[in-house]
C-alpha cells in the first residue's frame, strides 16, 4: 500500500502505512501486547505549534476512551485518548523539553507513550485508507 498523502485545498497530510488510526486523530502502532501512540500529521497541523505536553506517570492504569495526555498548542488545547484499557509503560520524556517534536516528526521522534494492554482489538481502529477518507471528508465539509 505505502504511505498516503491526503491533498486538500489548504494542506497536505501524511497518513503512514503500517499504523492504525483513531477517530480522535491518534496513530497506534501494535507490537505484541504493547501499543505506541502519537498524534497524526493531520492532528499536529490542525493544532499547530505545540508548546507543552502533559504526560501521565508510567504505571498509570488507563481505560479505553479516557484522556491520557494533553497537548497545549499556540492555538488550542487537546487531549490524547487511549483506545484500549491498559497500563502506561513508557512516556516520551523528550517531549517535556521539546514538545514541538510532535510537529517536526509526528510519527517518529514525536511519539507520545506506550501502553501495555491485554485487549487489543484492531477492529476498533481505522486503517490508513479509512483514516485518509476521514480527513478528506472533514476537509471538504
Amino acid at each position: 500500500m505505502g504511505d498516503i498523502v491526503v491533498k486538500t485545498k489548504i494542506g497536505e497530510y501524511l497518513v503512514k502505512d503500517g499504523l492504525y488510526y483513531t477517530e480522535s486523530d491518534e496513530w497506534v502502532k501494535v507490537e505484541g501486547d504493547t501499543i505506541t501512540m502519537g498524534v497524526t500529521d493531520y492532528a499536529q497541523k490542525k493544532l499547530r505549534y505545540i508548546v507543552n505536553v502533559d504526560l501521565p506517570e508510567p504505571g498509570t492504569e488507563v481505560s479505553a476512551g479516557e484522556p491520557i495526555a494533553t497537548l497545549e498548542s499556540v492555538k488550542t488545547t487537546a487531549d490524547v485518548y487511549t483506545p484500549f484499557d491498559g497500563e502506561v509503560v513508557e512516556v516520551n520524556e523528550e517531549l517535556i523539553d521539546s514538545p514541538d517534536l510532535i510537529n517536526k516528526d509526528p510519527y517518529g521522534a514525536g511519539w507520545i507513550l506506550k501502553i501495555k494492554t491485554s485487549n487489543i482489538d484492531t477492529s476498533k481502529l481505522l486503517t490508513p485508507e479509512k483514516y485518509a477518507e476521514k480527513i478528506r471528508a472533514a476537509e471538504e465539509a
Binding site: N52, V74, K75
Partner: protein, 369 residues
C-alpha cells in the same frame, strides 16, 4: 463561507500554512509561530494582514460624521496621522468594534476595521449616516477590502526592509504618522504608516503598507528577499497578547463597555457627542463592577488559560479569562481576563483554573513585556 485573502498563493509559496480566521483563509503560521514571534521582537518579519477591513471615506462632512461615531476626539488627529484605536459603540455603550482611522484631509479619511466586522461595521456606518441625516455625497463610504492589501513590516530591523523597498522618508515617521501615496518599489502605494499591532510600533519599528493587490504581491516577495521572515496570524496574536492589545470578539464585545475594558487609549474623556459616548461617561462616573486585567503565570508554566477559564481568589471565583497564550519572551503563559473590581489586585497573586487545575498567576496591568 470562507474567502481567500488575495495573496494566499504568494503566502503559500513563502511557506504559509493556511487556516481560517474570521471567515478568511490566510496563513496562520509559516512553520513555527514562536520563531516568527521572536523574529518580530529581535529582527524583522512581514505579515499579510489583508484580512483586516479597509474603507475609504470621502466628502465634505466626513470629519463631522466620524466625530459623531467614535469615542475619541478626532479634532486632535493631524493630517497624515492615524487616530490610534477608536471605538464604535452601540447606544448602550457596548463595544461593536475598534477601528483605526487615518486623516488624509478633512474630507478624506481611511479606516481599518477588524476582520469579523468588514461587512457589519460598514452597515452600521451607513445606518448612522442615514440616521444622522448625511447625504451619501457628503459622506461617501467605500469598502476597498477586497481590492487592496495591507502588508505589515515589523521589528527592530524593519527600517532595512523599508530601505530595500525604496521608500523615501519613512525614517521621519513618528508613531501613527503616515506617508500619503509614497513610492514603494517605484510604484505609488496608498500609504505607508508607522504602525502595526505587534507592539513594534511602540517598542522599535513597525510599518504598514496599504496598496493594490499586485503591488502588494511584489512588496511581500521583496520584503522576504530583503530579510523579513514571513509571519502568520498566530504570531500576530501572541505578539498583541504580550502587549495586552485587545481582540474584539474575544476580549470585548457588545456586552462590555470601554471602562470595564480599561480601553483608555481609545477614549477621549468627556467626549459626549458620539453614539454611546454618554454611556461611557455614565459608566466612568458610576464605576464598574469588573475590570479587564492581565494574568502572568509563573516562569516556565506553559498551561495556557483559554477563553472562559475561571480566576480565583482563594475559594472565590472572581472572574474569567478572555484570551490566553504563550509568551515566548517571558517563557510562560499569559492571559487577559475580567475580574471583579473589588478583586482587581494588580500586582498580587490569584489562581487561574486551566482544565481543572489551579495555577498561580499575578494580576498585571499590561503590557506584559
Amino acid at each position: 463561507m470562507v474567502r481567500e485573502v488575495p495573496l494566499l498563493e504568494t503566502q503559500k509559496k513563502l511557506g504559509g500554512n493556511p487556516g481560517e480566521f474570521a471567515g478568511w483563509l490566510t496563513s496562520l503560521d509559516y512553520g513555527n509561530p514562536i520563531e516568527e514571534h521572536l523574529a518580530t521582537r529581535n529582527a524583522v518579519t512581514v505579515f499579510d494582514v489583508s484580512h483586516m477591513g479597509r474603507y475609504v471615506l470621502k466628502g465634505s462632512k466626513v470629519f463631522e460624521f466620524l466625530q459623531k461615531l467614535v469615542t475619541k476626539d478626532l479634532s486632535k488627529v493631524k493630517e497624515n496621522s492615524m487616530s490610534g484605536p477608536v471605538l464604535l459603540l452601540n447606544e448602550d455603550g457596548g463595544i461593536i468594534d475598534d477601528n483605526m482611522l487615518y486623516r488624509v484631509k478633512d474630507d478624506l479619511w481611511l479606516a481599518v476595521v477588524n476582520a469579523p466586522n468588514v461587512e457589519s461595521d460598514l452597515e452600521w456606518m451607513l445606518k448612522w449616516r442615514e440616521k444622522l441625516g448625511y447625504a451619501p455625497s457628503d459622506v461617501d463610504i467605500q469598502n476597498v477590502t477586497y481590492d487592496t492589501v495591507l502588508i505589515a513590516v515589523q521589528g527592530p530591523k524593519a527600517p532595512e526592509v523599508m530601505e530595500a523597498l525604496g521608500i523615501k522618508g519613512f525614517e521621519d515617521l513618528k508613531i501613527l504618522q503616515f506617508l500619503w501615496e509614497p513610492e514603494v518599489l517605484g510604484k505609488k502605494a496608498t500609504l505607508v504608516s508607522r504602525s502595526g499591532w505587534t507592539g513594534e510600533e511602540v517598542r522599535s519599528h513597525g510599518f504598514e503598507i496599504w496598496t493594490t493587490i499586485d503591488h502588494g504581491k511584489e512588496i511581500l516577495l521583496k520584503a522576504v528577499e530583503a530579510g523579513a521572515k514571513p509571519a502568520g496570524l498566530i504570531a500576530r496574536d501572541s505578539l498583541r497578547l504580550e502587549m495586552g492589545y485587545l481582540l474584539v470578539g474575544s476580549d470585548m464585545d457588545e456586552s462590555t463597555n470601554p471602562i470595564e475594558v480599561r480601553y483608555w487609549l481609545a477614549l477621549t474623556l468627556g467626549k459626549t457627542e458620539c453614539v454611546g459616548c454618554d454611556k461611557v461617561q455614565e459608566a466612568y462616573e458610576k464605576g464598574v463592577s469588573r475590570f479587564r486585567v492581565g494574568l502572568k503565570l509563573k516562569k516556565g508554566v506553559r498551561k495556557i488559560p483559554r477563553h472562559g477559564d475561571k480566576v480565583y481568589a482563594g475559594n472565590e471565583v472572581i472572574g474569567y479569562v478572555t484570551s490566553g497564550g504563550y509568551s515566548p519572551l517571558l517563557n510562560r503563559a499569559i492571559a487577559l481576563a475580567y475580574v471583579k473590581s473589588s478583586h482587581a489586585y494588580i500586582g498580587f497573586k490569584v489562581n487561574v483554573e486551566v482544565r481543572g487545575k489551579l495555577y498561580s498567576a499575578k494580576i498585571q496591568d499590561p503590557p506584559f513585556i
